[in-house]
């Protein structure tokens, strides 16, 4: 069974604690899963997710996920030059 290690930051972290998830959470993924479908399946409002990290790189929400990936959801509203430098804008 394929799984990813999932994290979420800032206000999105509240979703984890409200549901009693561990941090990070081990989440099962299905064939063809992407960060976008994962969000939908887990009931995480996509408009609250500004950027997605997959294995430490900012990726698009439709990038295919693999077994063992490290995935993190970044909420809207993170400051810093990294909005540009890490690609929050470019990979939207």
């Amino acid at each position: 069974m394929a799984r990813v290690e999932l994290r979420a930051f800032g206000s999105l972290m509240n979703i984890f604690s409200a549901r009693g998830w561990t941090f990070p959470a081990e989440v099962e993924i299905f064939p063809g899963e992407t960060p976008g479908t994962l969000m939908e399946r887990l009931g995480i409002p996509p408009e609250e997710v500004e950027a997605v990290f997959v294995n430490g790189r900012v990726e698009r929400k439709d990038c295919p996920l693999q077994d063992g990936d490290r995935v993190a959801f970044v909420p809207a509203g993170i400051p810093s030059v990294h909005r540009v430098m890490l690609g929050f804008y470019g990979k939207r």
């Binding site: 994290r7 930051f9 800032g10 206000s11 972290m13 941090f23 500004e50 990290f53 430490g56 790189r57 900012v58 993190a72 970044v74 909420p75 809207a76 509203g77 993170i78 400051p79 810093s80 030059v81 990294h82 909005r83 540009v84 430098m85 890490l86 690609g87 804008y89 470019g90 990979k91």
Partner: protein, 577 residues
């Protein structure tokens, strides 16, 4: 209505005088003004602690008005840490008060004989030097409390701690927030030592007003200020992200990106980063009766600051990302309480938190203190106040500590410690660290303007391509924003809203009764950078100074296993404009 003036203090003769502001400086403020004055009046080859250096303190172009988040202050001079020009930018309440007194800049010059300390008191009635030997040796919190008791509970106190008195090159200049916390630092580059060399322990600023600096076109200004407030309140970063978790929300994010310098820049991730993150900080601060959100000066709508109650009954307000990183993951320290104590001590002794953290990292690398040992770090830091040899090494910065202990893994550029982003994990910031006239400086490339979006697109943080152009544009925009008095954090909203920059320009036009365009803004940013760069060239800097330390090219940074590989020839193109 106060007329705008310079307050010039000759610390050798103790003459204090107000001067009319020459035409060429009339619309300048903040960094544009401090850098221009330093360029015009300070010989670049002078000894930073000698009679020819000057300390210039200037409110931003819009400070003291009701434009939101515009109360930032610039402190400038020749840096004893880098040997080049320096502008350090601080929040706090002094900037608005100075602007309301019509003071465009305070210039401290000359070098006094003898060992007596003075306090400069500035009120609507004028300015005077008052003997202050009784304040010497005291920490900044106590000095601020004493001054607020003596001169009124609302005065702003710009002061230095024992580190500045000892002329240590990591000493900063601080001022207080509305609650009297002397924690709003113009920290970088050792300007506290310059103030110490002038034997000025504190500057007390008393102004009855905060938002009434003169406006040439009041109605137009008001409308633009309203619009700008709205722009900030509509953007998720400035309305939600910063107010909820402050800048330390970056801890987890930069860790995730693999660019969080850990164990003196050996790793890009810290396994226990979440323990010292902004999310954790907010949780603890609120549980202990502190605050997760707080403005550093009246009129800030973004409120990124916080109040963190320490177990010993004191409060550290705020703990910012850069400080939490420098005193946390950089040292493999995973306790916010330890970080808070170290941060408080830095504030009290008058030390830059970033330089101090980077220096402690070098000492840990040398084996003087074990990595991860918070108690040992606190003990070592306490030696600064006592002026022991180890304490003085800590207060002298990472480059000096590296030399004393024979460490080669020393993360500095132009003698200044690198802040909280590893340049191998994010190469654009590496370009800025290498080339900024300020030495390795995170804020130098912090701002982003609308024109980036047009030319921008996606620049891969792990590849060298495109980084030079990106860094150049960011440095230009930052130099401008640092001059306005606006907190750099407005940049996020300004980037995403096409009306952002024009509204800032509208505010400047209305305040000064001129027509100031977006092109003028970028032109001003470029002019500031050029003056700073020319000062450094005359001080003896060459392109060899625009480089990162060798180890960033040689040692791979996990988890992405990248090195810094932007070519030297390309770094030399940053100032090609």
């Amino acid at each position: 209505m106060p007329v705008s003036k310079f307050l010039r203090v000759n610390t050798a003769t103790r003459e204090v005088k107000f001067e009319e502001v020459p035409e060429k400086y009339l619309i300048l403020g903040g960094r544009a003004l401090t850098s221009q004055l330093v360029f015009d009046e300070v010989p670049p080859t002078c000894n930073p602690l000698g009679p020819f250096n000057k300390l210039v303190i200037a409110p931003g172009m819009l400070s003291g008005t009701n434009a939101p988040s515009s109360g930032r202050m610039s402190v400038g001079g020749k840096s004893p840490l880098t040997g080049g020009i320096k502008e350090a930018n601080a929040g706090g309440i002094a900037s608005q008060k100075l602007a309301n007194l019509g003071i465009k800049a305070i210039i401290l010059e000359g070098k006094p004989q003898g060992n007596d300390w003075y306090l400069l008191k500035v009120t609507p009635a004028g300015a005077e030097l008052i003997p202050a030997n009784d304040l010497a040796g005291k920490g900044t919190y106590e000095v601020t409390a004493i001054c607020r008791e003596r001169y009124g509970p609302k005065v702003a106190v710009i002061t230095i701690g024992p580190a500045g008195e000892m002329l240590l090159p990591a000493a900063g200049v601080t001022n207080n927030d509305s609650d009297g916390n002397s924690s709003r630092y113009a920290g970088r580059g050792g300007l506290g030592a310059v103030m110490g060399s002038k034997k000025i322990k504190a500057i007390v600023v008393d102004s009855p007003t905060t938002f009434d600096a003169p406006l040439k076109e009041a109605e137009r200004f008001k409308a633009a200020a309203r619009k700008f407030t709205q722009i900030l309140q509509e953007h998720p970063v400035t309305s939600k992200g910063l107010p909820n978790y402050g800048t330390n929300v970056l801890m987890n994010i930069i860790n995730e990106a693999g660019a969080l310098p850990t164990r003196n820049f050996h790793f890009g991730r810290f396994e226990r980063a979440a323990e010292v993150s902004g999310e954790k900080l907010a949780e603890i601060a609120v549980a202990r009766g502190g605050k997760a959100t707080h403005p550093c000066h009246p009129g800030c709508v973004m409120r990124c600051s916080n109040i963190y109650p320490l177990p010993n009954g004191k409060v550290c307000a705020p703990i910012e990302y850069e400080s939490a990183w420098a005193l946390g993951p950089n040292l493999e320290i995973d306790s916010l309480d330890v970080i808070g104590q170290l941060n408080y001590l830095c504030n009290d002794y008058g030390l830059d938190t970033i330089e101090t953290g980077v220096t402690l990292g070098v000492l840990m690398e040398a084996g003087v203190i074990p990595f991860g040992d918070g108690e040992a770090a606190i003990k070592a830091l306490e030696e600064v106040a006592r002026g022991t040899p180890l304490g003085r090494i800590i207060g002298s910065g990472a480059a000096t500590a590296g030399r004393v202990y024979g460490v080669t893994h020393v993360p500095v550029v132009k003698g200044q410690g690198l802040p909280a982003y590893d340049p191998r994990g994010c190469k654009g910031i590496g370009v800025t660290y290498a080339t900024s006239p300020m030495g390795a400086d995170h804020t130098a490339g912090y701002a982003v303007t609308a024109n980036i979006l047009k030319v921008g697109g996606y620049v891969d943080p792990h590849k060298p391509e495109g980084q030079v152009e990106l860094s150049r544009d960011l440095q230009v925009a930052t130099a401008f924003l640092d001059s306005t008095g606006f907190c750099l954090f407005v940049a996020f909203a300004v980037l995403d809203n096409p009306e952002g920059m024009p509204t800032i320009c509208d505010l400047i036009s209305a305040k000064y009764g001129i027509s100031f365009t977006v092109d003028d803004a970028l032109e001003l940013g470029k002019r500031v950078l050029k003056a700073e760069r020319e000062f450094n060239l005359k001080a003896g800097f060459t392109s060899a100074d625009d480089r990162l330390p060798e180890f960033f090219k040689l040692e791979q940074l996990p988890p992405h296993n990248t090195v810094f590989d932007v070519r030297d020839e390309d770094l030399d193109q940053v100032f090609n404009f």
